[in-house]
């Protein structure tokens, strides 16, 4: 009964949340974080086992033959794809919880720590359950629970009006997205699988059905893209993320951004690779949305003056980097270029895990800075590398890897993206956009790093290095960033086995010819040689030409006066932003449009509320809705 291990993390987490509900103050905070960390470790172990062989557990909850009969069985199952995402969740959950032990202390007087103690384990638990459930109906239940409870974490600082608003926005947007998912699931279970939402069952029946009904395929794709797009913050549906992520405590932001928005990616992999037949246009559409997502989000990241908001926009950017190769991979497989398609999908998964690491890391560093200085304002911060060298170092590693600098992990996944997209005509433009945006990402993170850590401060900032527990979890993630960059063969193995489980076969031997990754006839890259050369050459240079210099005051044109000689964060790339103002204009006008729509929606809501006082009209409305639903669902079957 090794499969029972699946219950261990869930058990610990349930215990934690109960303890969190009961306890109070510092000890319960410590306890809840430590237990979460332990459960995260067990999640890692589950993932480790999951890579070896599938684990499966079945429970019969009750027996009924009604419409909810498909809920009779709770099937938990871990295959390599879910193991892959479990790994992300485990590692990140461990780091975030470890970090949270000390970090959450400074909320002790301010926030309601109890809310954290309770919601944080639940959040982890629901994410875990989403990943291991093997049934669409259970999936949607856990999914909704996840959205529901994570909302409280976003609204953690209840004194902050912005946080409440952000949480509310987050909730109603994801809820609206989830309705589309519900619709899809209902449609699928109703029409195709005969009330059976088991993944294996769907994978057996659905592709055949959809092949004969392409219009349904497009309808479902549309619904899924909206449903998962909202959660993943794909660009027209992203607007909750930049508000919600900065407001949560930093370790939660790390989880939100590193793990939670990866869950829709996981489901997309499931749906498009196993449930749906491969279709060229769907791939291109997804890649197109990926390109749009990465382009607009990073342009907006350049504008931000709030450290975590900048990171949030960059999260959207990275979702673009994940969706783009995913779409490209689907397209390539559909046109028959299995190998390149697999490479693109590997790139997508690789970037997913990379993003979890470096974005988790960066959110933690932003949290450390906020922990010490109490500020996220990039205009105020500065020069912290002197006081917080370790945080600065980890932030530098994070920034470099998110900017895709060799030999760190970001480069490998980005390289895989370019290699798989650039040489195929249909996807070439996506590759080009990705390549350009990579430079903009670099610029955004130059801004992030330099404004906080290197630029002279406006006035003396009192800060010191964060406690060991905080920097050690940052360091762990930084090390993983380096490791996955220098030795990409391990993650390649993981991703390929994850892909195997969803039916994409890839010959890893063709791809990894030690010490290089080679995509035959397209490109090659040997991380170890590059890393070794960089390291050794720098070491030799430092030894040959050692720095023994005097320290002198910084040159300020000879004037004695202490000027505010620091570049303001809003001044970064001012000219570039001005030249690309069309992008921002587009964004602003769409925002204005959305606001108008929102106003209209509110008006409608008010009208509805007034109506609802009248029972008759209420009933009439409900009936109308049901009829509409029936027609819609009927239409699906047509």
């Amino acid at each position: 009964m090794a499969d029972l291990i699946l219950l261990v993390p869930a058990g610990i987490l349930i215990a934690t949340l109960l303890l969190g509900l009961a306890g109070k103050g510092r000890t319960s905070l410590y306890l809840s974080n430590i237990l979460s960390a332990i459960s995260s470790l067990s999640i890692c172990y589950v993932a480790f086992l999951g890579f070896k062989k599938s684990l499966e557990l079945k429970f019969q909850i009750y027996s009924s033959s009604s419409i909810v009969s498909s809920l009779n069985w709770l099937i938990l199952r871990v295959d390599s794809l879910s193991a892959f995402f479990l790994l992300i969740l485990g590692v990140l959950g461990f780091c975030a919880s470890l970090y949270g032990i000390k970090y959450m202390e400074h909320y002790l007087n301010k926030g309601n720590v109890k809310a954290y103690n309770f919601n944080y384990p639940i959040f982890l638990l629901t994410m875990y359950l989403v990943l291991i459930s093997w049934d669409l109906l259970w999936f949607i239940i856990f999914w909704e629970l996840m959205s529901f409870f994570s909302q409280f974490l976003v609204a953690f600082e209840r004194s902050n009006e912005k946080a409440i608003k952000a949480a509310f926005k987050y909730f109603y947007m994801t809820k609206a997205g989830a309705e589309f998912l519900v619709l899809t699931i209902v449609a699928v279970t109703l029409k195709v699988t005969n009330f059976n939402a088991n993944y294996s069952e769907i994978a057996r029946l659905l592709p055949l059905y959809l092949q004969s009904n392409p219009s349904t395929l497009y309808f479902l794709t549309f619904a899924l893209l909206i449903g998962f797009g909202v959660k993943a913050a794909m660009i027209p549906l992203h607007s909750w993320l930049p508000d919600a992520h900065p407001e949560a405590p930093s370790n939660v932001s790390a989880l939100l951004s590193g793990a939670m928005i990866k869950l829709p990616i996981y489901m997309l992999f499931r749906f498009f690779l196993t449930f749906f037949p491969k279709d060229t246009s769907i791939g291109l559409i997804i890649a197109f949305f990926g390109a749009i997502t990465l382009f607009f989000s990073i342009m907006y990241a350049l504008l931000q003056d709030d450290s975590k908001r900048l990171l949030a926009f960059s999260s959207i950017d990275n979702i673009g980097y994940i969706l783009l190769p995913f779409g490209a991979g689907l397209y390539l497989i559909a046109i028959g270029n299995e190998f390149l398609g697999a490479v693109a999908l590997i790139a997508s998964l690789y970037h997913t895990i990379n993003h979890a690491f470096f974005k988790g890391l960066l959110f933690l560093t932003a949290g450390s800075v906020a922990y010490e200085t109490g500020s996220r304002d990039l205009n105020y911060l500065g020069g912290l590398a002197k006081q917080m060298p370790l945080t600065a170092f980890t932030a530098l590693i994070g920034s470099l890897s998110i900017a895709g600098m060799p030999p760190l992990n970001g480069f490998v996944s980005k390289w895989l993206i370019y290699v798989s997209t650039l040489s195929t005509p249909a996807t070439s433009l996506f590759g080009i956009i990705a390549l350009f945006i990579s430079a903009v990402t670099l610029a955004a993170f130059v801004k992030y790093f330099t404004t906080i850590f290197t630029r002279p401060p406006l006035e003396e900032i009192k800060a010191k290095e964060v406690p060991f527990l905080m920097w050690s979890s940052q360091m762990l993630l930084a090390l993983l960033c380096i490791l996955f960059g220098v030795y990409p063969f391990l993650p390649l193995k993981l991703t390929s086995s994850a892909l195997n489980s969803v039916g994409v076969q890839i010959e890893l031997a063709k791809l990894t010819i030690f010490p290089s990754i080679v995509v035959p006839k397209t490109g090659s890259f040997s991380p170890i040689i590059i890393f070794a050369f960089l390291l050794i050459a720098t070491a030799i240079l430092v030894l040959l030409i050692p720095t023994r210099g005097k320290e002198m005051s910084t040159w300020s044109c000879g004037s004695k006066e202490k000027l505010n000689a620091r570049i303001p964060s809003n001044a970064y790339y001012m000219d570039f932003k001005e030249e690309f103002s069309e992008v921002y204009k587009l964004g602003d006008s769409s925002k204005a449009l959305m606001e108008k729509a929102l106003k209209f929606g509110r008006k409608l809501g008010l009208r509805f509320e007034v109506l609802s006082y009248n029972l008759d009209s209420m009933l009439f409305g409900a009936m109308l809705l049901i009829v509409l639903l029936v027609i819609l669902l009927g239409g699906v079957s047509l």
């Binding site: 480069f411 390549l435 130059v446 090659s524 000689a565």
Partner: protein, 292 residues
């Protein structure tokens, strides 16, 4: 593994400053000056290497000190991939993308070093440096796209030399411009503009650090020359070697005379130009898409 790459690196290390000296001579000729001897750049470097550096008090010292070393090695690493004198290179070490990223790594570390110096001009200069890098990448991305479409590959083994096509000529022409831009020459030496922001990112660097940074600029220019020439030159060794040397001289002359007879752009003008160029690049990409 091919150890001839060592010869390539040595060749670049020795000749990169010499070519700068040569360019100085050419520029001097175009400005009716006697000009320094072509070894002058080497003498300058040697002099600078002998001097101890000065470290500004407001700087983030470790980053500030390490930046020149890493900048230098990042550029040097690219020589593992791009062949110079001999066509051999460690082919499996990387491809076009890696070269681009190594160059951006050099630029990035360089500007991070400058940002950490605490000097207002260095900050402004690095800010300009990164802005320019972004806009130049816009065209470069298209160039990479075009060349990758022509060869259906990103590997230099296949891309060198390019077949004679309309799109390859257009792609190379754009590459020519991008190389010019990224080698920090007038009118695109905006980050270093001496009269405006006093050498920008270089302002606080002195002695050995300055020597390393200057050296890496020469190496970067030389690398980009070699990259460009490799796209044209045939693979036969003898013709290639001769052609390579000749090509270097021609490129030096063309680039330095362009540099001598242009005024500096403002940053917004440069970005606007790159935007316009990217429109051209889009057309070239479409042509490449057609397979012409």
């Amino acid at each position: 593994m091919n150890f001839l790459v060592v010869i390539n690196i040595l060749f670049a290390l020795i000749f990169a400053p010499l070519f700068d000296g040569f360019e100085r001579k050419v520029k001097a000729r175009l400005q009716n000056r006697q000009g320094p001897s072509i070894f002058q750049t080497w003498w300058d470097l040697i002099k600078l290497f002998k001097r101890p550096p000065v470290i500004p008090s407001d700087s983030i010292k470790r980053l500030y000190i390490l930046a020149p070393y890493i900048t230098f090695t990042a550029v040097l690493t690219a020589y593992l991939i791009v062949p110079t004198l001999l066509p051999q290179s460690l082919n499996f070490a990387g491809d076009f993308i890696l070269v681009i990223y190594l160059i951006s790594l050099a630029t990035l570390i360089f500007s991070l070093g400058a940002f950490s110096s605490g000097n207002p001009y260095a900050q402004l200069g690095s800010n300009r440096e990164v802005s320019l890098l972004m806009s130049e990448e816009l065209v470069l991305a298209f160039v990479v796209g075009i060349l990758a479409l022509i060869g259906r590959s990103l590997s230099f083994e296949i891309l060198f030399p390019l077949p004679l096509k309309v799109s390859s000529i257009l792609g190379l022409a754009l590459l020519f411009v991008v190389i010019y831009v990224s080698s920090a020459r007038i009118p695109f030496d905006i980050p270093e503009a001496e009269p405006e922001i006093i050498e920008g990112p270089l302002i606080e660097y002195s002695g050995k650090h300055l020597a390393l940074l200057e050296y890496s600029i020469y190496l970067k220019r030389f690398l980009l020359y070699s990259l460009f020439l490799n796209f044209i030159l045939p693979k036969e060794t003898t013709i290639r070697t001769g052609g390579f040397l000749l090509g270097l001289i021609v490129l030096s002359i063309v680039y330095s005379s362009l540099e001598a007879y242009y005024g500096r752009f403002r940053l917004d003008q440069a970005i606007k130009l790159m935007k316009k160029l990217s429109a051209v690049a889009l057309v070239a990409w479409l042509i490449a898409l057609m397979g012409w």
